[in-house]
Symmetry: C2
Subunit: 211 residues, 2 copies
DNA sequence: GCTGTACAGTAACGATGTTCTATTACAGTA
DNA sequence: TACTGTAATAGAACATCGTTACTGTACAGC
């Protein structure tokens, strides 16, 4: 889409001039588009290469293999989630926390394919590296920060913010996961989600987080 | 399920059907063993046939394809879950409900591969049929029954039992799902799980289920 | 014993991720 | 300018997957 080579220059020259970076981002853009448009099943090395106008060999030199591409998409998915969660700017701590919950669900619903890659092992052979895993914890830390402010504001009883954040994440994830799989009908999914969030929040207000 | 030719119940037809049924259960046993031993990735038509000592053609005549086998395993997974949940025989309604939650987690932990098939789309092309989906709701109804008794006993505030059951299931599923994926460390998984269950239960005791 | 049909085994087809091989395009030198 | 070396690429090949066409075979009914 960008990085049009100068007239007369060959692909080789372009790759060399811009380093692999341009080719790399172009490949990731293609993979991302393919993932969102046709789902994880359509994410094929040959298809990425075809849409990119090169052979699959290039993908192997850049990413090492399909797992390399999968990991980048995995990271992109968590980055989107992180931006969605951190984009909630409510001044009130509890409102921010519940807003983050809604942002979590909204992000999952509008990035279903990414969510499948992140949490449903949609790309068969892929397992995230420890490095990628560590990076994926950023949204959880954002949640924990909001929880900590709730505790400081006296809205939540004193407890380990990270513990509470993990519980809240698990609740959100469970509701959204079942909704995305199409389980138990999507009709009341939003109501169910908010009910679960309220339940968890109420519990931590009364100090249940300590037991 | 059916596949009985049925027109004219000649002894040969029934004998053939019996042989058919025997091969069918043998194939499912092999598939199940393969699934549990080597994971969903090892569930291959050729491999099932090899372990069974026949060609893949047989599997296609019996199950129609890999999706047919996947659906049987899917149903078996939900059947195990159902048996685990209904096996809780606590007389006290609330104790039974929390016991069911623990049974849910225990069943998932000891049937990881099945859980992956059921909730993580571990078999790429497989989508459960509407029939299978309906059958998979049995454990949810068991949960709803326990909830209803909690309401009748005055432990839970009056509300739609199915609604509460779904929320509880979502919470359980979220915690277990993250635990199975290896997310957020498995160290405090049990504590986290119980915390979430207590939070949800407490919420419905105070009548949060109506709002 | 013969015929027809339904099933099983073999081999093939298309597609996948991955790798091997040969070619090509460029940079640096004499 | 011509040569050499290196890096990247394309294309075909390999192993595997789900699936299916073809072929033989074994059994029920006459």
């Amino acid at each position: 889409m960008d990085s049009e080579p100068a007239p007369g220059s060959t692909p080789y020259a372009t790759a060399r001039a811009h380093g692999h970076a341009a080719r790399r981002t172009a490949a990731l853009d293609t993979a991302s588009e393919l993932l969102e448009r046709d789902g994880p099943g359509a994410l094929t090395m040959r298809r990425i290469a075809a849409e990119l106008g090169c052979s699959t060999t290039v993908l192997y030199t850049i990413f090492g293999g399909k797992s390399g591409i999968a990991e980048q998409l995995w990271l992109e998915g968590f980055d989107r989630l992180d931006r969605a969660v951190r984009g909630v700017r409510e001044p009130d701590p509890l409102a921010r926390l519940t807003g983050m919950g809604q942002a979590y669900r909204a992000n999952a619903l509008s990035n279903r394919a990414y969510y499948a890659v992140m949490f449903q092992r949609a790309i068969p052979g892929f397992e995230p590296s420890a490095q990628a895993y560590a990076a994926s914890l950023r949204p959880l830390h954002a949640l924990a920060d909001a929880v900590e402010e709730c505790i400081r504001a006296g809205v939540f009883a004193p407890a380990d913010p990270m513990h509470i954040a993990r519980v809240l994440w698990a609740a959100s994830h469970g509701a959204v996961s079942l909704e995305l799989v199409g389980y138990e009908g999507a009709i009341d999914a939003e109501e169910r989600y908010e009910c679960l969030m309220r339940a968890a929040a109420a519990w931590f207000m009364t100090g249940g987080g300590e037991g």
